[in-house]
């Protein structure tokens, strides 16, 4: 009875919050809220490193500025929030 249950994750139809990996979540979050400029992809601006973007985000949310995708940062990204970007171009 003490054997852990095997969990099966299902992608529910119509569920727009997909079962993303933490890296996918962070990537989308940093772009959506302005920490990484989406124009970077087209090569119009110098690329901001993910580490720099994460530090910016950690600074905004009062977290330790590690520049790494640590657990407190992932937890912060999963919090309900306003859709207005934090950083503007």
């Amino acid at each position: 009875w003490c054997v852990p249950l095997k969990s099966v994750y299902v992608t529910f139809p119509g569920d727009v919050i997909k079962n993303m990996t933490d890296i996918q979540l962070a990537d989308e979050y940093l772009k959506r809220y302005g920490y990484i400029d989406v124009l970077q992809k087209s090569g119009l601006q110098a690329v901001t490193s993910p580490s720099k973007a994460l530090k910016k985000l950690q600074n905004q949310f009062g977290l330790e500025e590690t520049g790494k995708l640590d657990q407190p940062t992932i937890d912060a990204m999963k919090q309900p929030r306003c859709g207005v970007p934090d950083i503007r171009n």
């Binding site: 969990s7 727009v16 919050i17 309900p80 306003c82 207005v84 934090d86 503007r88």
Partner: protein, 561 residues
Amino acid sequence: YQTFAGDLKWDHNDVTYRILNYSPDMEATLIDDAFARAFKVWSDVTPLTFRRLFEGTADIMISFGKADHGDPYPFDGKDGLLAHAYPPGEGIQGDAHFDDDEYWTLGTGPAIKTHYGNADGAMCHFPFLFEGKSYSTCTAEGRTDGLPWCATTADYDKDQKFGFCPSELLFTFDGNSNGAPCVFPFVFQGVKYDSCTTEGRTDGYRWCATTANFDTDKKYGFCPNRDTAVIGGNSEGEPCQFPFTFLGNKYSGCTSEGRNDGKLWCATTSDYDTDKKWGFCPDRGYSLFLVAAHEFGHALGLDHSNIKDALMFPMYKYVEDFSLHRDDIEGIQYLYGPKTGPDPTPPVPQSTTSSSIVPTKSTTVSTTVHVDPSKDACQIKEFDAITEIQKELHFFKDGYYWKTSNKGDRKGPFLISQKWPALPAVIHAAFEDQLTQKIYFFSEKQFWVYTGNDVLGPRKIEKLGLPNNLDRVDGAVQRGKGKVLLFNGENFWRLDVKAQMIDRGYPRFVDTVFGGVPTDSHDVFLYKGFFYFCRESFYWRMNAKRQVDRVGYVKHDLLKC
């Protein structure tokens, strides 16, 4: 705090707003109230005023929508992103959008205002007892018509107070049917429907016809969500079906199995594996008031703050007793300046030609008194005093008063100075002596006694035996003939009206005699045999057995807003 680049702000202080549609999660009046309170957060600290428009283009257009809702920034389903708003300007600028895949409440679970029944529209009380069984949701138990209902006190068996819960059988919202209930079955494009449907729409909102045939009559409305309905998923508005089968296992309650986000869900048919119909189980939801106050901050020109306790911090956090953070105040006052002086009072021009809004005393010519129509009792959060005079409940605020009859008709605003010219603008308490029909008014350290049009006073309240350091009387309650209880904060005194003197043995502590009511009530009064203790926009009602049997909204239940 931060402002938007270029310090975007409105170039006028009389900002208008319009509510374009409603969420099925909450009663329209609760939504109106949440938005009005959210605007007041900002108008309390700036010279800004907010006026609601019901048609045309307003500065701030407010709407609920799901996923792709007509702007370049789609919502993302339940949780995550809750709402967004645009900085001041023309067109979409200034507008506020709320994700209707969220569960909108007052922040602490279902906020269900009842209809009909015998509880005067009070909120449901969960859990409540009915025939010895406890209910945490609305139920159709005990009824044959399927209408969900709830008790508005903890014990229906004892108090017998109830009302009906929102359902499509009771009313619809928006649409073109003036709130008429659904008619089932109804025909849409030749197909019969026995329940609300999202067919024919791309926005996921559930609707129904309000006649038997939509194809011929084109009459429809949107279905309010029942409190038992699931949120989001692909079955919004449908109830959970227990037990249901998921991956071969049976579940008789909501589960987080199959998800890595820990959210509770259920199937809305008995077999998820074949039907794939599901939704999230109702939770505490998000406070529409708090989220709106934040979004309106953007609509007025504030960007996100990095101070965690500020309203403009981007993350949602529920707080029970909200007050604006210093950072938010500094931000908005940087843009618009501080509020200066009291609210403007309208001029009172007089003429001798037209009819009167306010009944005047026996003068030979009719006097026109123009009362500012924007003095809307329903927009007032906290009244200076409330009392029953000649069987009508009177609400006093800043030189005006309103009254409601037993039938619930609301009249006003009237000018206090017209009816009782000796009184100051702010009345802190009043009562009508049941023996003599004299009306006593209290304001700060003085009181007046009106007998018809004759007035005595002002006199100092210490003449009644009240302590000379008492700043005011906040409430008055008649206790039998010739005795009145006078309240101030956590103390009360008993006045012998005939002797015009406080009885011995007082003050006494409010909480030793009236347990369970706020000890910082700013209005205390007697109405229909109940004591009412008011704090901000809420009241605590106490029955003759000194039990608090209801907590409700002053404006909904007493003012009938």
